[in-house]
């Protein structure tokens, strides 16, 4: 009898009818906290997609022109690597081709940020402890975070479906659902990462790295074959999005893949969440040294940022090698068509298709490196707002010295990862290594300019600092999507990357890089001057 009673008690605890208790309240809290962040992400991504039909219609107004461009795009494997294959030559088909991969990637970034923010971030800051002391089930925080991501992705799917319905409801729904599906796969992947890591920074890094790998897999697969049937493409959720074939005979069963992957990852995350202590991970903390050798603010900054720099460096080396590997086939163009060449030139390259491809890849690495530099500069912001900077600055450390340690890693680190990306690209391509390296390094002034804006914003006010992410995001959008939209030159010129010489292949013009370097230096100087004058954030 006692045994039965005990079993019954355990059964109640394990079955946990209230393991999701409090999910609704936590979801409201999450949406309240993200009331700016989610609408902004969803709005920008949707706007990006919804502006495509008009823009593409302007560039290719007739059906014949669209069929022509679709054929050329499909034949060029370097363009397939960047945007995926073209499956339909309707306006909708071109929109899905041009926007699909990137909406997927952006929805993925949004989702992983939302999920980590409401799971590991909450635990790391200690806020979860207080919440979990209330009527909150063990699984509720995870459920609330995933639901918040679901709300965001559903809103995105709705906007895309409604906005593109004019091109065909089925295709619009497929693109919307595929985007949301990619987002949810990333959300659940981030949920797993948030369970196994102890720091939110690392969880975001892991999930972001996974997303990067998805992109590279798809790029490699698409460069090899022109119908999205490569195994590599099918291994990547971003590849599933294109294989949904929105506006080109939708293959609805592909949606099952998103559901299965998201469901599986969610199950893993839930399994882990139920088996772990709040605030802890699965790896026991190892003891550290009883005495330390850190003695300067610079050494501390290096210690704090070296892991992240190592991760970025390895990622760039791998991505560069993958891009270099697919460059070899870049010149396999059906015919030597004037319009294709023109389009490639619009993408950022110049004559010589291989050179243009390498230049495009170097530019892409550069724009991603802008994210690194922003993240690294904003380490200052994180240190300041977490109150860890306070005791350091209360010691004999000047603000400039404190900031300089982190900025050295941000700006020097950008050079290191671009060098590694260039080495990977050159090694993968197997030729012209110095030219490829040069193409990567010439991106640095533009990367530094974005970093300079981050320094300035942080210097002006701690509240303005996160705006640097917006700047980096805008630069990415302008670089990837801007040229195809036929935006006015004045808008495109806002991105520092637009001013760089197109290498390899183009002429090395020294004025723009030098001018940008000077601009970056003055931005940093202004930012540091402002930092030296303002109050420190006090929490």
């Amino acid at each position: 009898m006692t045994g039965v009673a005990a079993d019954a008690r355990f059964a109640v605890r394990d079955a946990g009818p209230r393991r999701h208790a409090g999910t609704g309240t936590l979801l409201r809290l999450a949406l309240r906290r993200d009331r700016l962040m989610i609408p902004l992400w969803v709005g920008v991504i949707a706007l990006m997609v919804l502006s495509m039909p008009g823009a593409l219609d302007g560039v290719y107004p007739t059906a014949a022109e669209r069929a022509d461009v679709a054929r050329q795009m499909l034949a060029n494997n370097s363009l397939r690597a960047t945007y995926g294959p073209v499956f339909g030559d309707s306006l909708g088909g071109l929109v899905a081709w041009r926007a699909g991969v990137f909406t997927g990637v952006f929805a993925g970034i949004m989702s992983l940020l939302v999920v980590v923010r409401h799971t590991r971030d909450e635990e790391e800051s200690g806020r979860q402890e207080l919440l979990s002391a209330g009527m909150v089930g063990r699984r509720a925080p995870l459920s609330a975070a995933l639901l918040a991501a679901l709300v965001a992705n559903a809103a995105l799917a709705l906007l895309i479906t409604a906005g593109l319905a004019g091109q065909g409801v089925a295709g619009a729904a497929a693109l919307g659902l595929g985007t949301a599906g990619t987002g949810m796969v990333c959300a659940t992947a981030a949920a797993v990462a948030a369970q196994v890591t102890e720091s939110a920074r690392l969880a975001k890094g892991l999930a972001g790295g996974l997303l990067g790998a998805m992109f590279v897999l798809r790029a490699a697969g698409d460069s090899a074959v022109d119908d999205g049937s490569s195994v590599l493409t099918w291994l990547s959720p971003v590849g599933w999005l294109e294989n949904l074939r929105a506006f080109a005979g939708e293959r609805w069963w592909v949606l099952v893949l998103f559901a299965a992957a998201a469901g599986l990852q969610a199950a893993v995350a839930y399994g882990l969440a139920g088996r772990r202590d709040v605030g802890m991970s699965f790896l026991p903390a190892r003891p550290g040294p009883a005495t330390g050798r850190l003695g300067t603010a610079h050494a501390l900054a290096w210690r704090l940022q070296r892991g992240s720099l190592l991760g970025w460096g390895l990622g760039f080396l791998a991505a560069g090698a993958a891009f270099g590997g697919i460059t070899k086939g870049a010149a396999d163009l059906v015919g030597d068509n004037e319009r294709t060449r023109e389009i490639i030139e619009r993408m950022g390259g110049q004559s010589g298709i291989t050179d243009a491809f390498l230049a495009t890849m170097a530019g892409m690495l550069g724009m991603i490196a802008a994210l690194y530099v922003v993240q690294s500069v904003l380490r200052l912001h994180a240190e300041e707002t977490s109150q860890r900077a306070e005791p350091v600055l209360a010691a004999a450390v000047g603000r400039l010295g404190w900031a300089a340690g982190h900025l050295l890693i941000a700006f020097g680190g950008a050079a290191v990862i671009m060098l590694l990306g260039g080495l990977g690209l050159g090694a993968g391509y197997g030729r012209d290594v110095p030219a490829v390296l040069g193409a990567c390094l010439v991106q640095l002034p533009a990367i530094w300019t974005v970093g300079g804006v981050a320094v300035l914003l942080h210097g002006l006010s701690p509240r303005a600092a996160p705006g640097a992410w917006g700047v980096a995001g805008a630069v990415l959008l302008l670089g990837w999507i801007g040229p195809a939209l036929g935006l006015p030159a004045a808008v495109l010129d806002l991105s520092p990357f637009g001013h760089l010489p197109k290498l390899p292949g183009g002429d090395m013009a020294w004025t723009p890089p030098l001018a940008l370097t000077a601009l970056a230096a003055s931005l940093v100087a202004l930012g540091l001057t402002a930092l030296n004058r303002r109050d420190l954030a006090t929490g």
């Binding site: 790391e124 102890e198 720091s199 903390a285 190892r286 003891p287 550290g288 040294p289 009883a290 005495t291 330390g292 050798r293 850190l294 003695g295 300067t296 603010a297 501390l300 210690r303 704090l304 977490s386 109150q387 860890r388 306070e390 005791p391 350091v392 600055l393 209360a394 010691a395 004999a396 450390v397 000047g398 010295g401 004058r533 303002r534 109050d535 420190l536 006090t538």
Partner: protein, 302 residues
């Protein structure tokens, strides 16, 4: 000899909230100075101005004879600071952080560091994320007490310590005083302040409302007297400065302003005293009076 800290008419606003509204503070070299005030009265804001982390809007601020904003780095060689809420880097061990803070100040006395780690029963090999609040505070305290500095600024440093560690802390502060160092101690633990501090400043709503030695401050408040008399008391109620008079038969309980005590005693002895207890005002009573008296100034956050 210059004052360790001189603050006169200090003002600091954050947007529309006035955190400090004409605050004055004088800390003499070699003293332990208690810095008291209700939550949100501006103690931490004052300390951050002293550390050059916030810039004063108005008023004169000198620390060790220098300007804390302009000469921050030079000053900080001679100053150790312990915040009330210590945040550590998750992947650095406590020992590494102690040594880092020490090197970032004037330097660390290795023997004293080892002794303090022992006394505070701190495990320096644990990583930042695994320390409890009290242990994080110990990390900052060991770094501060082992640093070779002239001035210690401690902002509610014992809020997470257990009573044993609190006793260790008090001995450490006493040792610092014996070594001639100056300590500014912000605290809510009144027994701690009573035991350690030579002088105190009480602030409220960003302003200094009381400042002086504990003896001076006590003088301003009331003494509690209870007595058992041979006969019924006579005329006590008419004496100036007597409050809360309670008479039950021959027993008397009352509070009297400290400078009127003499007249009360005279009146009591006239009735014949059998037993007499007189309690000087505790800091707590002093404190409650300042904390509770509505002065009409709304308290401001921070």
């Amino acid at each position: 000899m210059t004052q360790a800290i001189t603050v006169a008419g200090l003002r600091k606003s954050f947007g529309t909230t006035h955190a400090l509204d004409g605050l004055d503070l004088e800390v003499e070299p070699g003293e332990v100075h208690g810095f008291l005030g209700p939550n949100g009265s501006g103690k931490s804001t004052t300390i951050r101005v002293l550390l050059g982390l916030l810039r004063a809007d108005a008023g004169a601020v000198r620390m060790l004879g220098r300007d804390p904003w302009a000469d921050a780095v030079e000053l900080h060689r001679r100053v150790a600071y312990v915040p009330g809420d210590v945040t550590l880097w998750r992947n650095l061990s406590g020992g590494e952080v102690i040594d880092l803070y020490g090197r970032l100040r004037g330097g660390l006395d290795a023997a004293r560091r080892a002794e303090l780690v022992e006394r505070f029963e701190l495990d320096p090999t644990k990583k930042g994320r695994t320390y409890s609040k009290g242990n994080r505070q110990k990390v900052a305290l060991v770094a501060a007490f082992a640093s070779d500095v002239d001035l210690l600024i401690l902002d509610e440093p014992t809020s997470g310590l257990d009573p044993l560690m609190e006793a260790v802390f008090r001995r450490c502060v006493a040792e610092e005083r014996d070594r001639g160092r100056t300590v500014l101690l912000s605290s809510h633990i009144l027994s701690e302040v009573e035991e350690l501090c030579d002088r105190v400043s009480i602030i409220r709503g960003g302003r200094t409302v009381e400042s002086g030695s504990l003896a001076d401050l006590r003088h301003l408040t009331r003494t509690s007297v209870t007595a058992e008399l041979s006969g019924p008391p006579d005329g006590l109620a008419l004496l100036p400065g007597v409050h809360h008079l309670e008479v039950r038969g021959n027993r008397v309980g009352l509070q009297v302003e400290s400078d009127r005590l003499n007249a009360v005693l005279r009146s009591l002895t006239e009735s014949g005293v059998r037993t007499l207890t007189s309690t000087p005002p505790t800091l707590e009573e002093l404190f409650l009076r300042h904390y509770q008296d509505g002065t009409g100034t709304p308290e401001v956050a921070r």
